[in-house]
């Protein structure tokens, strides 16, 4: 039985062990229910069904302002003598608001701040602007001209639709980290579980540790990717729900699904998952009891490196960004981000990807070596120095 056939057999086994279509379907249904609740709840929250406020003004409030307010609110006059009672009753009459003119200001009395009050303040602001413009002798157009930005015409040699591409790059980075975490959970269960079930010896008498490790990394990566696909589809549905609120057409989401970006981000994300799976498999190999191991916090490593890659967005052409986009532990997310916001040559993309491939090739070899050493170690969990010492001997 050749190497490839054995790796395929192990990969399929590991994938089938952890990919549970029934559980996945239940997860999707739960997510859809959450999205539906979010959508309907949001619709309700944004609907204007709450009782409108009633605005009371005292006699000093300008008549012109009162007329403006009448466009949106029910406005009534309130005599000065009743002011005290009115304020005292605000904790009961929660929808009532009083506007009173005092020296140089308008005082607003209400039970609490609300969306309607913001609207009311906005109308008062507009009236105030009109009065000020009249005092200065300028009209609305002149004011708009004063406040408008400088008439700067931009002309760039390198132009792109980077904002959407960056969002997609973030999205892939998030998916990658999710796939890494899911894979890590499976990897942990698979390797430490097999050690605890004492099945390792049976397996390594049939296949080499390298075949087993490669099969595990590929099989579990595929499980992570299947979750990535599931959650991508859910994200698209979530995006459609989001656009319902923003008023944009649902088709706007298609602008984010820029195919060349996906064609670039997907292989980088895939390599990222493979590399982290190889590292995490090596870590899991030396853990005997996950509950009491001092090595368990190492699972946070991928997060640190993925977060570091976000530095690229600050200045994509800085030395640090260039380094991050080449360094194999960060390049899976950093290079797509750089490509989204600055000019990156095809050769750089290809070379960075090749470096990822090369790193994966060697990491899986190291992982298999660590695995080989640690599988038959029983009792005390080996320290890293012990593992590396044994790696040199055998």
């Amino acid at each position: 039985m050749n190497y490839i056939k054995q790796v395929i057999t192990v990969s399929r086994w590991e994938f089938a062990r952890f990919f549970k279509p029934k559980n996945e379907a239940i997860g999707i249904i739960i997510m859809l229910i959450i999205l539906a609740v979010f959508y309907l709840g949001g619709k309700y929250a944004f609907s204007d069904k709450s009782p409108k406020i009633e605005v009371f003004v005292n006699n000093d409030i300008d008549g012109a302002l009162t007329e403006i307010l009448k466009d949106d609110f029910e406005v009534q006059k309130l005599s000065t003598e009743r002011k005290g009672d009115f304020i005292a009753e605000l904790s009961v009459e929660k929808n009532k608001v009083l506007l009173e003119k005092q020296t140089g200001a308008i005082v607003l009395y209400a039970y609490k701040n609300s969306r309607d009050i913001k609207k009311l303040k906005n109308r008062v602001d507009n009236y105030h602007k009109q009065i000020e413009m009249q005092k200065l002798g300028i009209n609305a157009e002149q004011l708009a001209s004063v406040l408008s930005p400088a008439p700067l015409v931009e002309s760039f040699v390198y132009t792109n639709d980077s904002s959407k591409r960056v969002i997609l790059a973030y999205f892939f980075a998030a998916l990658m980290i999710m796939a890494v975490f899911l894979s890590f959970a499976y990897q942990f269960t698979a390797i430490t579980g097999e050690k605890q079930l004492k099945i390792t010896e049976q397996i390594v008498s049939a296949i080499t540790p390298q075949v087993w490790m490669d099969g595990k990394i590929i099989g579990i990566t595929l499980t992570g990717l299947s979750s990535m696909i599931t959650y991508s589809l859910l994200s698209i549905i979530g995006g459609l729900v989001f656009f319902q609120f923003t008023g944009l057409p649902a088709s706007a989401i298609l602008e984010y699904l820029y195919l060349p970006s996906i064609a670039l981000y997907l292989p980088f994300a895939l390599m990222g998952v493979l590399i982290w799976n190889a590292i995490l498999a090596a870590i899991a190999s030396v853990i005997t009891d996950p509950n009491n191991s001092g090595k368990s916090p190492l699972m946070m490593l991928p997060v640190v490196f993925v977060l570091a890659s976000f530095l690229v967005t600050r200045d994509p052409d800085s030395g640090l960004s260039v380094f991050l986009s080449w360094f194999p532990f960060t390049s899976a997310t950093s290079m797509p981000m750089r490509w989204a916001i600055t000019e990156v040559g095809i050769w750089q993309l290809a070379a960075s990807f090749f470096l990822l491939l090369l790193t994966f090739y060697f990491l899986r070899k190291i992982a298999a070596k660590i695995f080989r050493i640690s599988i038959l170690m029983t009792g005390k969990e080996p320290s890293w120095s012990e593992v590396f010492k044994l790696m040199k001997i055998r």
Binding site: W13, E194, E201, Q202, A206
Partner: protein, 312 residues
């Protein structure tokens, strides 16, 4: 190449293995022929499992040579499809259906999946577990789990099976059942190495034995040979109905070895040239009420004698 050499399937020469300060295996050599049931005997920690792991290249020896002749050529490691292995540390996927696990373990040894399924169902039928093929292993009793483990190691019909402590943890009925299984696969052409310390079981099936203690060879040869070498002694067993004088028995005149088994049983070993008549008359003078019986040493006795002599 002589007929003897043609018949050899495994040749081990001077292998040694050391773990830190412990010499686990020390310069042992042996040969296994086609069709043999070769028993590795030794007390706990004697180096049996380490030797078997070295044969399968699970761990590397520090020195020595191993040659497998399963496919006509000499190889340092055997092809997975030609070897079956029942490890001392038992373990299978508990949360996966039995049939699935069996098919997977056979398929990584190169067996076709359909063929593996057919063979697995046949074995499950024999074990009266066919109706539980789709159940998870964890729902089976420990004895049945052991049977599944055994099936997993030989399902792919290997030319050579390595069974590390196959009888451990089994009740007497299942021990007999396993003896039948081992004989059956051996009759079908599988050469077998097994390790054990249940001498009465090994006596029933082994053609050859390799006695090991502290990593060193004590005996390597056929079963008849060990009786010829060490079976010419006489053992007298005393079964006391009440207590006995331990001091007077420990220093019993003429006995090569006195073994106090428990509070009512004592075993005395006499050499080939001992005066048994005189010993029996001295025994008759002992205080207390007891039964006396005599027999030639069995494998258990020889094993104890050799191990104790080696430890001195």
């Amino acid at each position: 190449m002589s007929d003897q050499e043609k018949n050899t399937v495994l040749k081990v020469e001077s292998i040694s293995k050391r773990f830190s300060n412990v010499r686990a295996v020390n310069n042992i050599s042996f040969t296994v022929n086609r069709g043999d049931i070769f028993a590795f005997l030794g007390p706990n920690g004697s180096g049996k499992t380490t030797s078997l792991r070295i044969l399968l290249d699970i761990i590397k020896s520090d020195s020595g040579e191993i040659a497998w002749y399963l496919n006509g050529n000499s190889n340092h490691t055997p092809a997975a499809s030609q070897v079956g292995y029942l490890p001392e540390e038992r373990g299978l996927y508990l949360d996966i259906p039995i049939l699935k696990s069996l098919i997977y373990l056979a398929s990584i040894r190169g067996m076709d999946k359909a063929e593996a399924k057919k063979a697995a169902l046949q074995w499950l039928e024999r074990l009266e577990l066919a109706d539980r093929a789709k159940e998870k292993l964890q729902v089976l009793s420990k004895g049945n789990q052991q049977k599944i483990q055994f099936v997993a190691s030989i399902l792919h019909k290997p030319a050579f099976a390595i069974l590390d402590e196959p009888f451990s943890g089994l009740d007497p009925l299942n021990q007999e059942l396993f003896i039948e299984f081992i004989k059956e696969i051996n009759n079908q052409g599988t050469t077998i190495i097994l390790s054990a310390h249940q001498m009465q079981l090994v006596e029933k099936i082994a053609h050859k034995i390799f006695l090991i203690n502290k990593g060193e060879k004590l005996y390597n040869g056929n079963l008849a040979g060990i009786y010829e070498l060490y079976g010419n002694k006489q053992i007298i067993e005393l079964r006391f109905k009440s207590g006995f004088n331990e001091i007077s028995l420990k220093h019993f005149n003429g006995a090569e070895n006195v073994e106090i088994i428990d509070t009512s049983k004592v075993k005395l070993t006499f050499g080939q040239n001992s005066d048994i008549k005189s010993a029996l008359s001295d025994l008759a003078k002992l205080e207390g009420d007891f039964d006396i019986s005599s027999h030639k040493p069995d494998l258990h006795d020889i094993f104890l004698h050799l191990v104790k002599s080696h430890q001195l």
